[in-house]
Amino acid sequence: MISFHAAGLSVPNPDGSDDDTVILAPVSLDLRESRVAVIGANGSGKSTLLRLINGLARPSTGRVVVDGKDVARDVAAVRRRVAFLFSDPLSQLVMPLVREDVELSLKPTLKNKVRRRQVAMDHLDSMDLAHLADRSVHDLSGGERQLVALTSVLAAGQDILVADEPTTLLDLRNNILLQDTLFALDQQIIYATHDLDFAARADRVLVVEGGHIVHDGTPCEAIEHYRQLALSASREGS
């Protein structure tokens, strides 16, 4: 279970004034559901909320606890449980070849090179990506890259997957393929998205606006709330 205990993030104001800029206002909630979506406008604090979960960002107030482990105090233990998928797969892929990138995730647990290669191929095969094993990560399509990034992240074996707008750069076909792949996984998944159809598939949806969680509920209610927010903001803007 993921618990936020008044966890928030503020940074010093660039103009030197006393008031800090609030990136995410203190939030308290428990995330137990298998699929939790986070929706909101650009810059609303969705990514910050997600990055707090595996310590890619540290809270300036409060704390985040994952399965009893405080993210700030025991980031190593938390990262052994929480994987993170970026929206741009090229930011995620570290090694030049597809197979090598999956092998990198297995390195901590498999010393034997031959065995490691075999397990990496098994992982790729389970995602129907074995034919890409010896391809450069730069030669893949956007959809293939995101699926390879997902395979590499999952190969590390964590129980929880945090995904920050994983479908943003994908065309419709790959978008649906990635959604189906994610929803077929056993891991608990917390994901941010601008795709309201994708959000509607979750068990619970959080709406983030201006660094605050302004709604937390079922997909239908949350999406409707977000639509109203977007419409109001649009009218005010025009």
Partner: protein
């Protein structure tokens, strides 16, 4: 960052004799060539190494051979400056010996990168660094750091090209001082990104083992279906 810049040191898949050669043999050839360049200082040595290098590129396959000229396209001005200086100071044969020998060694080093899996390079580096374990250094971590450094060289070159293109697109010149700031910022962002990518999988946190132990992953790609 542009992908083609990554081709500078990116492995070209293949099944040639050079691809299949063991890593230790490739390193041996590289060390022998480097030693020859330093200790057998003659134009003949430089010429011989250039020919041997070109032959090995040809044996490695057409795609590898096609990559032979990449450094000349990118770094020709460095070789030209060096050759001009040596010619002026020591004459044409010395210029050929120095620049030819350096280029031959560079090409053989590139051939190692072009024909070897990065994971094999990292494993080889970890093996070579294994004596450091006695002084408390984790050889796997050292090897991973070197692997990431190799990855970052072409990425930073790609970043320089991107920043130059962006400056030209706005009608700005190629003033290196003006480009330095954005390049440094992009390079630092790339380093952060790489760190985040490792953190995202918990690789460093899980600890790269340097002992002969295998643990079959208990979790991985689990499907509900």
């Amino acid at each position: 960052m542009r992908g083609q810049a990554l081709l500078l040191g990116l492995r070209i898949p293949g099944t040639s004799m050079v691809h299949r050669a063991p890593l230790w043999l490739k390193y041996l050839v590289l060390v022998a060539a480097g030693t020859a360049v330093v200790f057998l200082r003659s134009p003949t040595t430089a010429a011989a190494l250039l020919v041997v290098g070109l032959l090995l590129y040809a044996v490695a396959g057409a795609r590898v051979l096609a990559a032979w000229a990449s450094p000349l396209r990118l770094l020709w001005w460095i070789f030209a400056l060096l050759a001009a200086y040596q010619w002026w100071m020591n004459g044409p044969w010395t210029a050929f010996m120095v620049v030819g020998g350096m280029f031959a060694a560079l090409q053989l080093a590139r051939l190692l990168l072009l024909t070897t899996d990065q994971s094999d390079l990292i494993d080889g580096m970890a093996w070579a660094c294994s004596p450091l374990r006695k002084v408390g250094v984790n050889p796997e971590l050292v090897a991973l750091a070197v692997g990431l450094m190799l990855r970052s060289i072409p990425a930073v070159l790609g970043c320089i090209a991107d920043v130059s293109d962006a400056a030209r697109a706005r009608g700005l010149g190629r003033n290196p001082i003006a480009l330095a700031g954005p390049v440094v910022v992009s390079a630092v962002a790339f380093a952060h990104q790489t760190g985040d990518a490792l953190a995202a999988r918990g690789i460093l946190e899980q600890g790269l083992r340097d002992e002969a132990a295998d643990v079959t992953p208990t979790k991985g790609v689990h499907h509900r279906l």
